[in-house]
Amino acid sequence: MRITTTTRFTLAGVTLTGAMAAMAQDPTIRVPVSAEYEAVQKQRSRRDVVESETFDGPLSSPLVAPPVDLKTQLVFQGSTKDNATGEARIAGVVGHVWDSPLTLDFRLRGPLNKDTGASELANLDGLLNSVTGDLGLGLMIWNPNIPANPTDQNCLEFWCATRRADMFCFARGQKPKIAKLMKAVPEAQSRLKEARRRNAPATQIDRLEAQVEKLEGELETANTIPMPKAECEEVLRADPHQYEAFDCATFVRSMTPPNTSVEDLDFLQAYNAQFSCSLTAMPIGSVWRTRYRSLLREWPPPILLSAHAVVGQESFDFVDPTTLEQASASEINHALVASAGVLLEPIGYVGVNYRFERSHTASPETTLCIPLGGTGAMTCNDVHLGAPTETTHNRIQFELRKFATSWLAVNPKFTYDANDSVAAVEAPIYFLTDKDRGFTGGVNVGWRSDTDEVTATLFVGAAFTLFPGS
């Protein structure tokens, strides 16, 4: 097989050198894209209604959906003074399970010292006060595959129907016929030459001559394709005198020059095979796109799994209610979070998140007044009266993420806290769009079972994605 870029194609004597060179430099079919890939927007998960009301202490991370954008990183960062937290994080792909990337994410998060702006997260004894350690594993399983033949066929039909790869289509479609004719023509010519050499009867020579003429005609016909009108008109404009008598409706392009070999046909295939095809390059609603989309039904859907273990230590200062003495306690809080999600056609992304949490809550603050010596005066302080109480939460959340139309996306969530028997429904409806980032805002309608309140708020925030973001 030869791969060259010599001027092997002619158009009624006009070489196509320029066109070939341009195609060789840029053989890829392009579709409109945004000017630049923007830096990935950092997304912060929004806390749902139940969590903000029923969870406290350092275990304040929300239900975590599986991330799909985790990158290897070692990060030490402090946030703004407003929420005053520092974080150390290490994350990355640690292996592959079921041919899919397994990610690990470990982070320490703790409060910043308001004076120094520093955050000390751990020492040799372990985590420091109010610091949370979070170890997570994530797995994204998606193994789509296309059977080669239907794809080739679909692409071929698309290329040929849209005139994106004439030579490819020609070479592929005509190669067997041309190869057969290329063999038959010299054989017939040879038979004619031999008949003439041995002075065969005139009738036999006439028959052989007719046979040669017929085969040569067939080869010539097989060797051309209708020329795209725009290309034809361009050629006519370039040299109107030479092609005065030509009509673009009947203009043909010779695909192979004289003496083309079968290897040249292979070259045609090889050269044009550099064209690519994809679903988004095909018109919406077209038969080729529909055919591609139908392949979705043959694939297992994308599945996202993740598990997190969160542990944190928190110190409490309180007053013993029996002795009224100052006391302190250090408690360990922990949580386990498991998430799973699947993209179902045509429903959308369906996720379930579960969180078990055991945490400690400071007793309510109260004003304690005690006599000041024998003066009859009192001294009062706001204190936590009594040791912190342990609370347990089992919370499950169901989530749907769906781009319903080109102007509407929804992300309804149902959350239930089994320990407090509190249910909450939240239904962000996205209809506000940012030119580059997609859906970024809308209305959030919510309801809680404990207060029986329905709320509706306008919001603008991070771009909504089909899969839970990073």
Partner: protein
Amino acid sequence: MAKKTVTLETKKSAGLILVVRIDGTKLQLDEDGNGECDLTGGVAHVLDFFVRGQPGGTYKVAITAPSESRLRREAVLDQDQLDIGHAYFFVKA
């Protein structure tokens, strides 16, 4: 037949998932979206890529080496929230 290392780069916007196959075998991409594999020279190979995500999400798939195999495909996902791509490339012997 001698093999050559083919290098591939991908980029995608947040929230998209992307899978690449070369000659039917899933290519393990690193966290930056890069991957490579050794392919037989002198023949054509097939690149398939699959992208799912929100409309407006962008992605890029490019073969960056060897030079004769270079190709690049980039697109914006539309209402189908999906792209499937198929391309041939050649590796010289």
